[in-house]
Symmetry: C2
DNA sequence: ACCTGAACACCGTTCAAGT
DNA sequence: ACCTGAACACCGTTCAAGT
């Protein structure tokens, strides 16, 4: 049977978890699905498109709606995004890179926009605020996952903390408090 | 005359600006300083250490103190960091990666910590708040610089906007307002 | 329609050997 | 002390050719 895009993406995700983004090569993915690396180019235009598929697969597990009080909803959304990213090795880097080049059909901050809108922000400002918040989340988790990789490499002491819940919560409270304080008012510069 | 660490870093920075991080190879750096790629390993343990040197060189142009009223100081620091990063191609990605692996002697948020302290935050919280703020700045500029690369590649229309001043200012106001609102109070969770 | 196999033009890094 | 040159074990991508 012919190999499918979905099969390739699934294999890539498994390799990602086991070996990390740096070792996620076309040859290795080909091996995993029982095909030459060059065959993958019949199914995907290039490696980046394939990675976009992996990013979408990861983000598919995000909760898609956060009803209720805006501050609590924003915190819920951010914690959910973090935990989704922490589920797969190097996910933050992969998602951030995919987002940056504009590939991938799932945008990590999509569910955050309506929260800001509900809090009274005009559409475009809500999008910007959501994007800013997700930039913090992605940056924070990227840092955590890099440390997890360093730990695996043995360059960090085996009992080193790689997660930083307190740092995450503080950053989150910072933007949540800011959102509550501004509430969509345009800037005084 | 023997080549120096500083000379290698300077050459790498020039190549970075001209060709981007993806094309910053050891062989190319060797060519630029008139030496074999393998020679660089006599001066640096590996490529990542060299990149840490480049990161330090970029961050050396940051202003190192932001006296005065905390909110204005924070905004000044963040805008300065952004403009420092925008001065060199792919600088945000390079600095973020260096920061994540714990190399590099210059920390981009170093000057932001005393601002939070001055605003009444206890030391550790000030560090976390500064780090959260710099995560936003790095993420935002990374996104802008990726778009600049896409523009160069012609995959974006030639008149596409790559900078996003409004998005930056809004994110910045968000954290500044949050900082002013919380003012170092521990969380109610 | 889907896949192979060879090739192209690269990588980072190591290491014996030179001066 | 500093550098060369060859080698190792890889990359992403293309493309004629096969079935």
């Amino acid at each position: 049977m012919a190999v499918s895009r979905e099969g390739i993406v699934a294999a890539a995700l498994t390799i990602l978890d086991e070996y990390g983004l740096a070792d996620l090569s076309m040859r290795r993915i080909g091996d995993a699905v029982g095909v030459q690396a060059s065959t993958i180019y019949w199914h995907f235009a290039n490696k980046q498109s394939l990675l976009a598929g992996v990013s979408d697969a990861i983000l598919a597990t995000q909760a898609d709606a956060w009803p209720g009080e805006p501050v609590a909803a924003l915190i819920g959304w951010a914690r959910d995004l973090r935990s989704v990213l922490l589920t797969h090795r190097d996910a933050a880097e992969l998602v951030a890179a995919t987002l940056a080049v504009g590939l991938g059909s799932r945008i990590p901050d999509a569910a955050a926009v309506p929260i800001f809108v509900r809090a009274g922000w005009p559409g475009q400002e809500a999008e910007r605020a959501a994007r800013a918040t997700s930039q913090f989340v992605l940056g924070h988790v990227m840092h955590e996952q890099t440390r997890q990789n360093l730990l695996r490499l043995g360059v960090l002491p085996p009992d080193a903390e790689t997660l930083d819940d307190e740092g995450f919560d503080l950053g989150l409270r910072l933007v949540a408090a800011g959102a509550a304080a501004l509430n969509g008012q345009p800037a005084p510069s």
